[in-house]
């Protein structure tokens, strides 16, 4: 099954990368605000069901893919 993990800086956490991207977009004339930069991790995961895959990916997020002090994550499973 194909899993996608979206990792974001938590609400309220200073995100200098997001600020830099926002400034650049504004310089280009785009009216944007509150830009945040996160990370996408895509991979194949072996599992019998989507539910099992989701549980496994959730465990991966807690152990490695996200740091709960500063990041939140979302898991999508397809297939």
């Amino acid at each position: 099954m194909r899993a996608t993990v979206l990792v974001r800086p938590k609400e309220g956490i200073l995100d200098p990368q997001g600020q830099a991207v926002e400034q650049s977009l504004r310089k280009l004339g785009f009216a944007v605000g509150h830009a945040r930069v996160g990370r996408v991790v895509d991979f194949e995961v072996e599992a019998e069901s989507a539910e099992e895959a989701r549980e496994r990916v959730d465990e991966m997020c807690r152990q490695l893919l996200a740091n709960p002090l500063i990041e939140s994550y979302e898991v999508e499973v397809q297939g």
């Binding site: 956490i13 200073l14 200098p16 990368q17 830099a20 490695l64 893919l65 740091n67 002090l69 500063i70």
Partner: protein, 232 residues
Amino acid sequence: MKPRVAVIQFPGSNDDRDAVWALKALGADASLVWHAEPELPDETGAVVLPGGFSYGDYLRCGAIARFAPIMDAVTRFAAENGLVLGICNGFQILCEAGLLPGVLRPNASLSFICRDVAVRVERSDTPFTSRCEPGQKLVIPIKHHDGAWFAPPDLVEELEARGQILLRYEDNPNGALDSVAGVGNEAGNVMGLMPHPEHAVDPLLGSGDGAFLLASLLDAVAERPSVPVALA
């Protein structure tokens, strides 16, 4: 016997040899230990996790190195009250491993900063700062991109109350919360800091102030019995 210090070498470490050099200059029996080793050398008195870019800093700084084989032994060593010092990337690894509180985030400026900074010693009654006076200013270089220490407000309050903030920047260079440059664990045997004491042990190189910290560590090793490492 000279204090025996194991300096862990991860793929991508680059201050490992400097750490060994500095510790030897201060009288230690220091040697490199490869990250894939399952155990620390016999009679290890302290472990140093050096600076660098372990595993290319992929994902988050220190996030992958914390799962290196040697880290199990380092975690057991710390749990048995062994002395562990993490410098820069080593600090990041200890935070990711949960051996130290908080996390290191990209500098607020998004710039890599490489220069001498002044830090204030908050406590001198620790194995890492015993040669300092409380409030003493040390000039030690930093060189990092991800050095802004962060922890949630309730955790910071707890750390303050327990005296776990050990070093603060005089002039916050990187956006670290409360100007924190170094923290300790609750038991007091693990410390991490972003400045590089191993680059400041000889006044010829600008400052000798890093020696206050490293020599404190070696004093502490000499004073305590070595931790048995093969108990697993």
